[in-house]
Structure formats: C-alpha cells, structure tokens
Amino acid sequence: MESAELKMFFVQKTNLTTLMKNRFTNLFAIATAFSMITLAGATEVGEKAPDFEAKDVTGKVVKLADLKGKTVVLEWINFGCPFVKKHYGSGNMQKLQGTAADDSVVWITVNSAAEGKQGYLAPDSAEPALSKEKWAGAHYIVDASGVIGKAYGAKVTPHMFVIDKEGVLVYNGAIDDKSTTKAEDVEGATNYVTQALAELAEGKEVSVPTSKPYGCGVKY
C-alpha cells in the first residue's frame, strides 16, 4: 500500500484560568491541543493502526505507540448528531466506556469537526459538554484539523475502531447492527465493539472485523 507520510502540527488556544474551579474541571484544565501525526494512507483491519500523538482536553499527551500492551478503542463523536444522541441518551456509550475502563481498555473519543462546523467543541469548553453527557472515556481529543480522522478514514459519528495490544487495527465499523436514531433500538442490537473486546479478552480473533458504520458524516 502506498504510504504517504504527512506530519501535521497544530496548536490551539489555551485557557487555563477559567477552568481551575474544582477537581473535576482540573481534569479538563489544560486545553492545549498539540498534535504530531503520522498519516499513513487508508487504514485496513489487520494492519498496524496509524500512530498519532495529541493532547487531550485535560492536557494529557496521548501517543498511540505508548499504549502498546493495552487494547484501545477509538470513538468518533459529535454530540449534535442524532445517532450519537441515540447512544448517549440511552446511556449505551457511557456504559461501554465504563466497562472498558474496568477492563483496562483505553477509550479515546475523537471529535474531528472543523472549527466553525456543527459539532466543533473548543478544547477549553469541552468539559461542561462532557460532564453533561456523563462521558466516561479515558481521553477526549479535539482533532479540528481532521488529521487523525482522515488517517483512520473516520466517516461518520459514531464510527468505532478497536486496536489490539500489539497496535494492530482489529475492528473498523459501526457501533452495532441497528442503523437507526432510536434509543429503543439499542436493546437487542448486536454491539460489535462489545463483541470485539470480549473476543480479544478471550484471546480469540475478532469475528466481525468490519461493518459499514452508520451515522452523520464527520464535519471535516
């Protein structure tokens, strides 16, 4: 496969003072997003997942290569999208995030909406939105330049990826098999992420490694 190497670098505004209110907001205090990204063509299941380095909205540096030895979930998000609302409104996504944390799976939520587009969340104003939605992932990354999204070929929100302990992409696709906006369809759906994580935990191969993701287009 053709491998175009592209290093990207972006810096976003920092607003430390307004967020130093309590312990929880401290978590989200440093809103600088600083990314060095290697974009390596389209990502296919079975291949090494593209590495990326970015600061999350709390200021923590997240580097995929450093997470070797841990299973990683990537979730593309836009709180304004009805398909995302389905999974947050029903509590489904937060439940998955909580279970992942309990199982030492690193859950990274990525927002690739460009600044000025619907769903864009400035890093320094992300905390109230995440708090309101009871978001329970490990890292929330604002990828307004879209480099991480494009490296993975993230098409919609939600679009889900699972990376195994060796850094290999093992799942790329939909969150589940019911492509609707209705919260009542969460129950009874086959959740492909849950299934992939369970199979990985048992040392099995992921039985459904790809599925067509459904949702709103990522607002690059």
Partner: protein, 271 residues
Amino acid sequence: MMLAFLWALAPKASAQVSQSEVVKSGKSQASLMAPSSFVHGGDLTVALMLKPEKNWHNYWVNPGDSGMATTVKWTLPEGLSAGPLEFPIPHQFESSGLVSFGYSEPVFLLTKIHVPEDFSAAEIMIKASVSWLTCNDNGCVPGDAKLQVDVKAGDAENADTVLPGVDSMIYPSDQSAKLKNAVAAEEGEFLVLSAEAAPDLDKLLVGELSAFFESNAIVEHGYAAKVSVEGRQLSIRAKKSEFFGEMPAEVAVVIIPKERANSLRLVFSKK
C-alpha cells in the same frame, strides 16, 4: 391539521384520493395518500409523501456514506400485507468528501397492498409509522410520524386512480427478467456485474449511464461505477467498499441515464 395545500406537488382536492393529515417533524413534512376506494382481488398503491425544508435532504434506500434510509412500519388489517417500499431515483450529495444519496425535493415513496378476493371488510385502515432523517451540510435532524388513511370498497376505475404528483416521479422499473447470465463477481478491488441484455433492453442502455447500488456496504460510494454496453453485453465495474464482507447472494443496482427520464433496476446473482 390539513396542510395539503402546502405541498409543492400538492394533490388537488379530489374525491378519488384519500389523504392523511400532514405531520411536520424535524426538518420534513410527511403525509400518506391512497385512492379512496379499493377492489377485492386488486392491488392498492399507497404513497408516502416526504418533503424536506429548503436546502435539506432525506435519504434513498441506500443512504450512502452517512444518513439513514426512510423506513415505514405498516399496520394493516389481518390478511393484508404491504410490499417493499419503492423509492424514486435518487440524487447524489457530497459533503466533506462523503457521498450520500437522497432527495432535496418532495418525493413519494410507494408501496403496493394486495387485497385478496376473500377479504371481507368494506374498509381498510392503513396505518404507517414512518421514520426518517433530514440532513444538510451542517447536521441532521430525525423525524417520525404516525399516519393513517382509510380506503373503502368501491369501483375498479377509482381504485386505479393515479395519485397526483406520483406520475411526475421516476421509479426504476425492474427489468432483471430481461438479462441473461446476470452475475456479480469480485475482481481484486473491484466488483464487476455482467449480463447479456435482451434486444429491447439494450435500447434503454444508451448514453451516459450511472449505477446506484441499493445495498449499503458493497461499493465505494465516491467512486463512479463504470457502466459499459458493447453490443448486448452489459458490464458495470465498481470499486469494492472498504466494508465489503462476503458477496451477497444478489446485488441490485439502479441504472439512471443522464437525462433522468427513465430508470432500470437490475439484479445480479453471486457467481
């Protein structure tokens, strides 16, 4: 609320047509329409009208890279069932490099209900629970509506009434029976559909043709499938989707000429 007059393609108030109320939900309006009478042993065509607000769009049976197809759950008297939803030919939309299929204009989605000879009731209550998604470049808003029309037993002429507005839409006509050796095969990163077309069919396969795949996870939507006709041999070459799993038993494709004056639906079987 009767808002029928708001429709761009509004049916003229007519004794031959029954119409439900018009429900506005999200960014679209929906209504149900049927001939006001049915005959035993005949087919009844019911139309769901869906009209998005200006600069918004609703989706085809295959929404493409994003979006959601409009769906209808029918509730009908015992002994009756609704056929598949027939969608008019779609347009292609592009946003941030993603391709989707649908309509920014009001459309009529059709279904046929067969009424058996021995159906005893003199009236049919047709209930539809409709779900759709309306999007523009900036976002999406879901909509839903519960609609009802009542149709009474009556004369055949009235039961065959062409619903107003419906005749202005182009629906693909299934011509699969006119294909010989219609097969779908994988060729590396491509999906190739091939068949021999019957003589009267190849007259329709002229000019610049586009192919729209009905299934969602088969082909790369951003890649324009190449439709070629040599003599009577038809070939459609599309790029496989990155989410292509196994070849389905059947691949249905809608062929649309540039002029959009007619359209064919063709089904190919797994080789």
